[in-house]
Amino acid sequence: MKQLVILSGKGGTGKTTVAAALAHLAARESSVVLADADVDAANLELVLAPTRLEEHDFFSGQVAVIDADTCTACGRCAEVCRFDAVVPGDVAYRVTPIDCEGCASCYYQCPAEAIQMVEPRVGQWFRSDTRFGPLFHAHLFAGQENSGKLVTLVKQQGRLLALDTSAELLIVDGPPGIGCPVISASAGADLALLVVEPTVAGAHDLERILGTTNHFGVPALVCVNKADINPTRVTEIAAYCRQQGISMVKAVPYDTVVSKAMVQGQPVTAYEPEGAVARALEGVWEQIKTTLRAA
């Protein structure tokens, strides 16, 4: 079983569009498991029309809760809190949950033992069926922490099922950025497909996401999406990749068919299989297969 993660650094370059297309193409010839690792803004389900089979609560981290009756308003909790999460009051102090990092520093310091640490329900994760294979996805509640842990959970569930069912490929649709959820999504991947757009921002962000995959030893391929928006930038990105020893796969042209397919809830390769975008993505998939076979 091989594990492919789709990343970009910059948001909105087309990760999910590419992931859905690859799921469609891969499922035609082998068994695939899918994991949506963008747990704060999960979109893969919008184009895969999943049937939900299982729903689980996700509890993580801790939040301090001050018992107003026991609190003596001495202020020690606010003094030791480095995250400005404790709000002073005349009678009792209280904690703003959204600011609390769950470090429990206040819990240990409170002389009145008025503080409890509770583990909140911060999200849900799901196992679903799609027409291309099983999908693991999640929803981190608005503004919560620990997205990295939920990403790891979703990905591990996908990995376990892929191993159990002897699936050949796990496709992980990653989050934007380079921080904690991206690091969690990339761990254990055999290959990262970096989807970039030919803009000054896209080229800049490619360097940072490539730095991240290099740092964690994940081999990468680069796919330029919306390539005809700026051919000069494509040439520059190609030169940069050559210099870094990173292979590029077939470039995907800009086409409003991508948004039309999304509105119809379909992968672009299923919506307009003979179109330029779909044909380019077929080329991308062939190159990924070759690379994964050699990995």
Binding site: S8, G9, K10, G11, G12, T16, D38, D40, A41, N43, L46, Q62, V80, R82, F83, I98, D99, C103, A104, S105, Y108, Q109, L140, A142, G143, Q144, E145, S147, G148, P175, P176, G177, I178, G179, C180, P181, I183, E197, P198, T199, V200, A201, G202, D205, R208, I209, G211, T212, H215, F216, I229, N230, R233, Y254, T256, S259, K260, M262, V263, G265
Partner: protein, 288 residues
């Protein structure tokens, strides 16, 4: 007025709106502008504003350093650490800096005062000017997981104490998790940039939940690439009573100018007055 520009979905045009708002207000001359790029994982605003950086301040997390001469290997530090960032194994103490949140609980709980803290550098805050714009951004070091401490430092250093009569523009990262919450915290207004597609709408709903429902901020919408998808965003905005404050049409010229790093207000000057007007409308929304 402090404005945070967010979106949920990535690539909808947060930075486009943020920099053009900053440039339009500066060229108009009416309002001093402080610009903070809070997308510390992938900061991009500097590519468009091209600031001169005048000051750099490394950002670190205070991580424990154990004085083994005083340590009794009692294990209390590991017991109180909520992040498993310190472990005591026999006669050894292991610290894992990338897991440490810098809360200081181990220091406070060590019975022999064997722990002090030293900064583990995870990134930098840079400040300078892009012409009249006070510019600041944070940069997370590649391979580091935690963006929030950088955003926190960036805000502490770059938001003026008295923001009245000044525009403070925060360009947030995509998503709805802790880095976005930190960027929205303390703002007067949350401006949501979205695209009229199912992905854009889905993530817009989540971003509105954070800004309006969790943090109680007034919100408004900019629809970018107007015409590309469906009418879902318009229907949602009408149902929720959220004002659509600007529409940027789907226009290849706009996409090409962006790809070259040329701000919209420079490529197509008729947009200047529209962005000044956007600011006025946000001010009216805040005034209620």
């Amino acid at each position: 007025m402090i404005i945070t520009i967010a979106s949920g979905k990535g690539g909808t045009g947060k930075t486009t709106v943020a920099i053009n708002l900053a440039l339009a207000l500066t060229e108009d001359g009416s309002t001093p502008v402080h610009f903070l790029d809070c997308d510390v994982e992938e900061p991009n605003a500097h590519l468009f504003l091209k600031p001169t950086i005048e000051r750099q301040q490394p950002v670190g997390i205070p991580v424990p350093v154990v004085d083994l001469a005083k340590c009794t290997y009692c294990g209390r530090c590991a017991e109180v650490c909520a992040y498993h960032a310190i472990a005591v194994v026999g006669q050894r103490v292991l610290v894992f800096p990338e897991l440490c949140h810098g809360c200081g609980s181990c220091t406070l709980n060590c019975p022999t005062e064997a722990i002090h803290e030293e900064l583990n550098i995870i990134g930098v805050v840079e400040q300078g000017h892009a012409r009249a714009i006070h510019f600041a951004h944070g940069i997370l070091n590649v391979g580091e997981p935690m963006a929030v401490p950088i955003i926190r430092q960036l805000k502490q250093q770059a938001i003026p104490k008295l923001a009245n009569g000044q525009a403070v523009i925060l360009d947030a990262s995509p998503g709805t998790a802790c880095p976005v919450v930190e960027s929205l915290h303390g703002a007067d207004f949350a401006l949501m940039v979205t695209e009229p597609t199912p992905f854009g709408l889905h993530d817009l709903r989540l971003a509105v939940q954070v800004a309006r429902d969790e943090l109680g901020l007034p919100v408004g919408i900019v629809v970018n690439r107007d015409g590309i998808g469906d009418t879902g965003v318009d229907e949602y905005a009408a149902a929720e009573g959220i004002p659509i404050l600007m529409r940027i049409p789907l226009d290849r010229r706009i996409a090409e100018a962006y790809s070259e790093g040329v701000p919209l207000v420079q490529a197509l000057p008729e947009w200047r007055e529209r962005f000044v007007d956007l600011y006025r409308r946000m001010a009216q929304e805040v005034a209620g």
